[in-house]
């Protein structure tokens, strides 16, 4: 054939070969009859609750009709249903007042996550292999019931244990009752970020075992010790709303923020003054400030009451804490401390707050007590513009956390290590200690010993990968939800939400499963778990609020229940700021205690500060693509880990921006690219928590490094909390690395960034 014919034909056949028969397989999917006839394009707003951090913000979910691919009766098809499209803060909710942080916005991606577990699974390969097969709910419940039947009768302290994230509301109640019904005291709440230290300090100083609520909106001077309250600490949105007010919400009045922390967190970045005190010396600084106030007669020492008496030497005027004396130890010039003390006393109301790394040192409790004493001295506790406590919820059982004696996580590990037969059955719910606890605690090896593990979570993560049976919960937007936030508002708050949308997959509400199991157990269980469904349990628990002075007036119980759902909860109408009730301490006054660090300073010259990242929090949100791609506010980094290192320090070590460096403690090492910054103390290395997952959906698996893994198993003295800021490390350059930074619209970033 001639050349041109060949070319002509090739062109044609090339085109034809690429043409396919039309018809997308979507057209072949059947359509299920919708549950209700929704009007397309019309949005309804349904109250919901954010469960992604401890804040407890109230949300409104924008629900619009759409078409979802679902499996019903074993068949794949299309279903028109209401789909949550956007989350906003609930304007009426006292905690967040209509605002929502980036994590709350990303909650949608939990519901629609491609790797969310869609039905019960039974392990089909070796434990931890990730090999599971789908099973039905009846089979799953039957299996669980048979595993639990040895525990319902018989001796105390059965072999049952329930490991959860910190729970509130009726969820906590049901888990507590369930555990007790199985004759077990092993309900363990685990979280990397736990607030036990601050609660203990508040209990001792003020009689409230609760985190503080900061009335920043009416405050004029704030001294923060390590508490990243604008980002990840305690109730970030409530605190941010109040912070905005403090800055520019009052004509002619602008509050000042002073922040002490060895690195620049987001809160430090927003402070008028950021001072990098030596790690663990925050308590000394607080007492230094108190000393100036007392010695210059700006306020009387006795104003501090019981909180002051909790510190040894308080009545003596704290001479040993004079700024000039502590100057070298804390690394801050005496004149700065003195100036701050005078300003605080002159600009009432002034308040102090502690959290983050300051409370996560071995002397964290001392630091917290010192800060509490300073607060009391400043006279702000229980007053407008000061440290207040959210009042208890009237007419309902108090927070279940105080009801049952709970077991601490490392005590739990010790029990199993000392007696491998102690625990026979473990239930898991939203706790991931294999990731979020230091490798030195050997969590995986310890949990391995437990013969049967069941998980109720929605995802496979490092811990739930060890399960033998998985019974996936609904996502929060598909669930009945309640919450009793312990801080963030001057009003008592009970949040309540009906499901915003129908379940997409074959999942079941975890509390409903427990109630179902409870009915199959003996009479004791039936007594403490009499409800059929979770909403029934909540209706019974919160019905008493109808008679309390609050945000809802209703004509009867059903009306109240409906209104509570419509509003997203109930809150007290009186601002009942609880004032301190203890006047004397039961414990002897605390002496100054110096922080202890793991690792010799000569071998391990740097303090290692892991920190909860704005996007991934404690690592639990690394599975959400928006949280991977949103740039970190301070580094602008995406899809990876980095190590914060002081610019001068890096220069001395020959480390350039994005170089791969090895960070090693006595308990392990990791590698990550360096991020150079002037805003960190020269002897401090910091890393965001969040990445380094070995098994946590396609977006987070095998990405970055986990700073928690190399932490030393140090404890905050006087508590059971991990002192996660007490590890020392050494650092060395390994080679070239890669940072993925966001620079704007037309900013081509080469894959490997060199000197910037």
């Amino acid at each position: 054939m001639e050349r041109r014919d060949f070319l002509k034909i090739s062109a044609l056949t090339g085109a034809t070969a690429a043409l396919d028969a039309c018809g997308s397989p979507d057209h072949q999917l059947i359509r299920f009859v919708p549950e209700e006839d929704l009007i397309p394009g019309i949005a309804t707003w349904k109250p919901s609750i954010c469960t992604l951090c401890t804040g407890g913000c109230g949300m409104l979910a924008r629900v619009m009709p759409g078409e979802a691919e679902v499996v019903r009766r074993g068949q794949l098809g299309l279903l028109k249903m209401g789909l949550a499209k956007k989350l906003e803060g609930n304007p009426n909710h006292p905690i967040n007042q209509g605002k929502l942080c980036p994590r709350g916005q990303a909650g949608l991606q939990v519901t629609y996550h491609p790797d969310r577990l869609r039905n019960p699974l039974k392990r089909s390969g070796p434990r931890g292999s990730g090999e599971f097969q789908s099973i039905g709910w009846d089979e799953a419940i039957k299996e669980l019931a048979s595993q639990l039947s040895p525990f319902e009768s018989g001796k105390q302290e059965s072999g049952f244990a329930f490991l959860t994230s910190p729970l509130r509301g009726q969820r906590a109640n049901i888990v507590s009752n369930f555990t007790a019904a199985l004759k077990s005291t092993r309900w363990i709440e685990f979280a990397f970020l736990d607030d036990q230290t601050v609660r203990l300090a508040n209990s001792s100083a003020f009689g409230h075992a609760a985190p503080p609520t900061l009335d920043l909106a009416r405050s004029n001077y704030i001294i923060s010790f390590g508490a990243d309250f604008l980002s990840t600490w305690n109730s970030p949105v409530a605190q941010s709303v109040a912070y905005g007010q403090m800055r520019q919400g009052r004509p002619g009045v602008r509050g000042k923020l002073v922040h002490f922390e060895p690195r620049t967190s987001i809160t430090a970045a927003n402070a008028d003054e950021w001072l990098a005190c030596a790690p663990g010396t925050e308590g000394l600084v607080a007492l230094g400030i108190a000393h100036v106030i007392i010695s210059e007669n700006l306020r009387s020492a006795s104003a501090a009451g019981a909180a002051g008496n909790a510190i040894q030497g308080w009545t003596g005027g704290l001479a040993e804490y004079a700024p000039a004396t502590i100057e070298k130890q804390v690394g801050i010039p005496a004149a700065r401390i003195t100036k701050i003390a005078r300003e605080a006393a002159a600009n009432q109301p002034a308040l102090a707050v502690i959290g983050g790394s300051a409370a996560a040192q071995t002397n964290g409790l001392f630091n917290a007590l010192a800060v509490n004493a300073l607060n009391a001295l400043l006279g702000n506790v229980g007053k407008p513009g000061g440290t207040i406590f959210t009042p208890p919820i009237p007419g309902t059982p108090s927070n279940a956390a105080e009801l049952q004696g709970k077991l601490e996580f490392d005590a739990f590990l010790r029990q199993i290590k000392s007696d491998p037969n102690a625990v026979k059955v473990l239930f898991l719910y939203h706790a991931n200690p294999v990731f979020a606890a230091p490798a030195s605690l050997q969590v995986r090896n310890t949990l391995e010993k437990i013969p049967f593990i069941a998980s109720f979570g929605s995802f496979i993560d490092e811990t739930s990968a060890m399960a033998d049976l998985i019974l996936p919960d609904h996502s929060p937007l598909e669930s009945w939800l309640d919450d009793t936030p312990p801080s963030g508002s001057a009003q008592a708050v009970v949040s309540l939400a009906a499901p915003a949308m129908s379940p997409l997959h074959d999942t079941r509400a975890m509390p409903d499963v427990l109630l179902d199991l409870g009915h199959q157990l003996g009479p004791d269980a039936a007594k403490s778990l009499p409800w059929k469904t979770y909403d029934e349990a909540m209706k019974a628990a919160y019905g008493g609020l109808q008679k309390q002075k609050g945000s809802i007036t209703a004509k009867d119980a059903d009306d109240f229940w409906q209104k509570m759902q419509d509003q997203g909860g109930w809150w007290s109408t009186e601002e009942n700021s609880a004032v301190p009730t203890t006047e004397k301490n039961s414990t002897p006054p605390t002496k100054v205690s110096a922080p202890q660090f793991d690792g010799d300073a000569s071998d391990f010259p740097f303090h290692f500060l892991p920190y909860a990242s704005q996007m991934q929090y404690d690592g639990s949100l690394a599975n959400l693509p928006w949280m991977q791609e949103a740039p970190d506010p301070l580094s602008s980094a995406m899809w990876g880990t980095w190590v914060e290192i002081n610019t001068q320090t890096a220069a001395k070590l020959g480390i350039r921006q994005s170089d791969l460096i090895e960070v090693a403690s006595r308990h392990g090492s990791l590698r990550a690219p360096a991020f150079l910054t002037p805003a960190i103390a020269p002897d401090v290395i910091a890393m965001p928590v969040g990445q380094g997952h070995q098994n946590y959906t396609r977006y987070a698996t095998s990405r970055g490094a986990n700073p928690i893994s190399i932490l030393a198993p140090m404890t905050v003295a006087g508590t059971d909390s991990l002192a996660w800021a007490a590890t020392r490390v050494k650092v060395s350059r390994v080679g070239e690395g890669k940072l993925i930074l966001f620079g704007g619209g037309l900013n081509e970033q080469p894959a490997e960034i060199r000197h910037r």
């Binding site: 090739s10 090339g14 043409l19 997308s24 009859v33 397309p40 019309i42 098809g77």
Partner: protein, 208 residues
């Protein structure tokens, strides 16, 4: 290049190369997403595959480019004529047209509220009750709409509120059985009416 015999062959070659290049470009840019194929969901796997703006076949891409949308075939021969003659209004079934952007196509439940008792022996009605018996909704095929690449966000409600009659854009339904595209809804049609009624023709009124 002159139009000699050799020159003509060269032109043909160039055209052929460009033709292959065009087809390749179509395939690469419009049919395939960045990473791998646009995969459809397989049985039992509602979370398998990706959703993308890419067309799943080249034919679809070419059809959209040339605005080629043949009239669809409906699963049931629904007759507007008969329903309207029996006193129904457009808005009885196409709920929402005065509230928001879209007019609802009713579900099989909605149709059966009447057809549980009306005309039950009619074979088309029996098709309808057959769907319901199987737990399926009727797979009505979309008649009106704009190509995704037109990026039009049409909102019914302001038009209904302004008094625009359904027939102006959808034709006289008293003469139609299944809906057909009686009116050619191109941009000129919309702009002409907007100009006539002194309504904004700012691009962003409809394209966003």
């Amino acid at each position: 290049m002159s139009l000699s015999a050799g020159g003509f062959k060269s032109w043909l070659r160039i055209i052929a190369v460009i033709g292959i290049g065009f087809v390749t470009w179509l395939v690469v840019e419009h049919a395939l997403p960045a990473e791998g194929q646009a995969t459809p969901s397989s049985a039992q796997e509602p979370t398998a595959g990706v959703f993308t703006t890419a067309h799943s076949t080249v034919t679809q891409a070419i059809e959209e480019f040339f605005n080629y949308r043949p009239e669809p075939t409906q699963p049931i021969t629904f007759t507007h004529k008969v329903h309207l003659a029996n006193g129904l209004q457009c808005i009885n079934c196409h709920v929402g047209v005065d509230q928001g952007p879209d007019a609802r196509i009713p579900s099989v439940n909605f149709c059966m509220t009447c057809h549980r008792v009306i005309a039950t022996t009619n074979p088309e009605i029996q098709k309808l009750s057959g769907y319901l018996a199987r737990g399926e909704d009727v797979p009505w095929q979309r008649v009106y709409g704009f190509e995704p690449s037109a990026h039009v966000k049409f909102n019914h409600a302001p038009h209904i509120r302004a008094g625009v009659q359904c027939a102006e854009c959808h034709g006289d339904m008293t003469k139609q059985t299944v809906a057909v595209r009686a009116v050619n809804l191109n941009m000129g049609f919309c702009v002409q009416c907007h100009r006539q009624h002194n309504v904004s023709v700012d691009c962003v009124t409809c394209h966003f």
